[in-house]
Symmetry: D2
Subunit: 338 residues, 4 copies
């Protein structure tokens, strides 16, 4: 089985691994760790070395089979932290399984091959873990991006990169990962994968993908909830746009009705690609000083941290395929009173 618990701790810097001590104080061992999901304080873009640093200090401390997913960018009120996904021997109501795809060739990043690889890896993980597709509330993926060097490697091999713009490659990679998730969860039919890759507007409400220069495969973490098995639960939905307070409030009210306590919020954020929100022009896509993913994280982070009363939430920028355009997927993990 794949029963898990979730524990969250602040970090003093991207190199801070003291949360491991706190995890141990809470009764767990490093070997129990399935995954470390963190928000680190870089720009969340191509040259974010805070993610690499965090990955670098954490990987030697956790089992080889465990995965790390560091999402850069703690703009605004967001607070750097790590969330541990740890194995439990008894059912808790929450289940998880983690894995990796094979290494992608540089020219595959952001393409149908990338999406296909993600889809088949997720299916294999679900099968191997016995987690039901219907119980899945969140699939977190850390995926690779194109650096200048990778673009040159692709060109040298007479192949075509999905884009030559390194920042844009992050979006392409996230979208391919999200399409892979949607196919694996039957939100998109497998036959439509190619079409979905062309269209740029298919989406999964369970997907949360984040790209980085610090890896060449895809790290996958699947979270599922089976309320009949324990007191830990997940509720998921999506924000329709970046100011969709309603979606958040409704989810938090559900938690409250069940006498629950929020353990963590996972949300995706993006600048509406049309350039406006509810008919009002925003400037995130024309600000040449700050990339739109940073703006989006700051704004949605402010909204969710405010409503949750907690700045240690996982808000990740760039929601291509992860919730409707301009909006984003939303998943709340909580514990109910017994």
């Amino acid at each position: 089985m794949a029963s898990i618990n979730i524990l969250k701790f602040g970090v003093s810097s991207p190199a801070d691994t003291t949360p491991l001590k706190k995890l141990k104080a809470a009764g767990y061992e490093a070997k129990d760790i399935l995954g470390v999901v963190g928000k680190s304080e870089g720009n969340g873009c191509v040259n974010d070395f805070s993610r690499t640093l965090s990955t670098h200090v954490w990987e030697p401390l956790i089992p080889e089979s465990a995965i790390t997913i560091f999402s850069g960018g703690t703009e605004g009120v967001l607070s750097p932290h790590v969330t541990f996904i740890v194995k439990e021997s008894e059912p808790t109501g929450l289940q998880a399984v983690v894995g990796r795809t094979r290494m992608l060739e540089p020219h595959e990043i952001g393409t149908s091959a990338h999406a296909q690889e993600v889809a088949s890896s997720i299916r294999a993980l679900l099968q191997q873990s016995g987690i039901s597709k219907d119980h899945v509330h969140l699939v977190l993926i850390k995926c690779p991006l194109l650096t200048s060097s990778k673009v040159e490697i692709i060109k040298a091999a007479s192949k075509t990169p999905v884009t030559t713009d390194t920042y844009e490659s992050m979006a392409k990679s996230r979208y391919a990962s999200a399409v892979g998730i949607a196919v694996a969860l039957d939100e998109i039919e497998e036959d439509n994968l190619e079409a979905a890759m062309q269209s740029e507007d298919c989406w999964s409400s369970k997907a949360s993908c984040s790209s980085g220069a610090e890896l060449e495969d895809n790290h996958i973490l699947i979270l599922a909830s089976n309320p009949s098995l324990g007191t830990l639960r997940a509720a998921s939905t999506y924000m329709d746009d970046a100011i969709d307070a309603g979606a958040i409030l409704r989810t938090l009210e559900q938690v409250k009705r069940e006498n629950g306590e929020v353990l963590q919020v996972f949300a995706k954020a993006e600048a509406d690609p049309t350039g406006s929100i509810r008919g009002k022009r925003h400037t995130m896509n024309t600000d040449s000083d700050i990339h739109s993913t940073r703006h989006a994280r700051a704004a949605v982070g402010g909204l969710i941290a405010g409503l949750a009363g907690d700045p240690q939430v996982y808000i990740s920028g760039g929601a291509e395929g992860q919730g409707p355009p301009g909006g984003g997927s939303l998943c709340v993990i909580y514990r109910v009173e017994t």
Copy 2:
């Protein structure tokens, strides 16, 4: 009398003056304008030329006695717009008066002399307009800052600038303006003005100050509410920190109880100077790529726009003396059903 109405329109760029047409379509003339209060889409910092551009295009179109207050920075979901304060012949419930201090000498910016000048100008405006101090809900001020040239002028005159850091001079100027407001509204005793200037932690919950390179005096706009006189109202309070959703929700619920419709929200935002919010570390003060005022506007803007369901809100960064440290003043203008 000083009865007013408030109308808000989006702009397509900092040079867009088409809202004047919309104002006319709504039955007003340029001569009715007391003030134009806008959010423009620059960085809101020292080299924000969007503010200067907006000031430049608007000043020739409005009465000489009218004032402009452009606050730079529409980070995240915030939408560039202008709010007109227009005179009404009949009582509306809302009152306003606008004015200017004298030009400040560069070496006075951010000092007690600055605060004193603001205080005495506000008192004179209240007296001349017959607005009661007790009805005041908001004092908006646009105040000057120090550029490299002004710092050199001060040094050449063998005087001492309040700081040689041009970005920091914005904070000093806002604080001096806020202390002036607090003194004028009896939130601080006049005898304590000097001490307040030293302490850096006195504050007014009615103050909203914003600094810019585009002026050398202080522009002042005082908004007051007398519900017995009409259907327009103001409610003001303060956010205790940057994620104080409660303060916003309570104010919006008051509006709802009165069957009111929100016309505009004015709020100040800042990065908590201690480096943490509710005990969780934030990174706004250590991010050398994005100034903390930009972060704070994006986050608080996300929260308020989300709860108000409107990205055209006036969120201004740098709340020194304008609400408690790490929080900020908050004022909602609304119209009730008759």
Copy 3:
């Protein structure tokens, strides 16, 4: 005839028009102005309102037929200034003609239609002014870009924008303008215009193009030198890469040999698209905090200002089609002793 002089003055801000007084003190009138070419201190990217502000304050002061070309970005040691191109009644050795293309439709920006329009406008200007193609040393163009709103307009009309990335549209617009120049100057055969637009690596060593949101047509300024006619001269070449000090030193030595004094330097700069310079990796294309055009202006500006001993030089970022990839066009205007 089209004889001209060149005068250069510093500005204290993008709104500073006092150089007009200095021009008058030098014996010229506003009506003598053919063009105002300036470096303004914004980010030189999509949301650079310093350019718009400068355009806004200067256009009412100069003849309707005169043009403005403001290039944003005075990174590093570069100093904000304006260069006047003024008519002279007597031959000076330097000639110029200015003009505009028609307004471009949003969907034409950065396309072959754009290049074609530039080419035919330049040809018409050369013919009407009697300037010989062989004497041309520099064609300065200010061209439009795509904002979020323009992208939406194009999509609403069921047309396809050249790109949906507003920053990238600046590069596309510059390249189309440069191809137009190359065609007009016979550096590219007209029949090859379409192929040149596809290839992305054709270039003119006389082209200097800069894009901005402040216009919808293309402003064109052609500078020519005929040493037999006077003491003002132009020398032009290109930098092979961004550290090609040799090209600059050789040009300055030519000036010195002729007992000349440099009046102004016009150069283009860009981040080498391969990601390296002389085999050494640079990070301009992977820095998500600062766009590569800003980096390139700062670096090449440092080199040229250092060698010329003058920070008031015109260095413009984004050299697509304006000199070899990674390098840029270079033109020095100077006066020789008689």
Copy 4:
């Protein structure tokens, strides 16, 4: 004795340690390493995690007594690289010694205590190594800065931080280190250390200091040249301002006269604090999007890389006390033909 050689290699990322292989291929062992001096590709400011990452990957690979000095910021054409300082058994003409001060208490950073600690450590290192003060050409120091957390620790202890602005603390720390160097090298009399700390305009032409969050002591590397002992040499001087091409050209000409080949250039750069260079206004101190140290590195890096024909040069930003105001120290290491 302390004879050394210098070898320089590019890196593909801040985590790249493959230069160690190249060092070995050149005949050296890790145990020969005295110091690793690198340029890493972060912002060079408070939240530069590229420095921390580089330090993190390199420290386990080098002797415990060896030091690392990573200077963040490869703006413009600058290329990320590491320079090894390796011990030689035979005299080479170049000498070096490395060491550390004690850990500084947070409240000591940037104060006279800091300067004093640096001065006494340098003296001890010179004495222990037998290097003559007169042969010293460069003292490289990596020094600590104040983070938000350190500022809070200082306040909690009822002490006063040298500044509460984390970015400004970098400048204060560099200045204290530079004053320490000047005192140790008799450029400033020890009795005048306090006065020098007050004045802010004392300087050493041998100092190159860089601050970072990744350490709490000061790393010191002293480089000396004794041409009588071999073919490796150092020439040092200072740039008088950021466009002082003359200082660079004169030094490179000296190398050429000696039939030398440049191995590395070490230079400091800063934005002239007066806001102008040779009477022309610059905008580095009023740009709220890019810190002045980034601008200065890009510009001076462009000039030096251009003249040296090499983008792998060590240009470090923030030259307080390291060369005259607005200029910076300059040291060229070269090998002459025998």
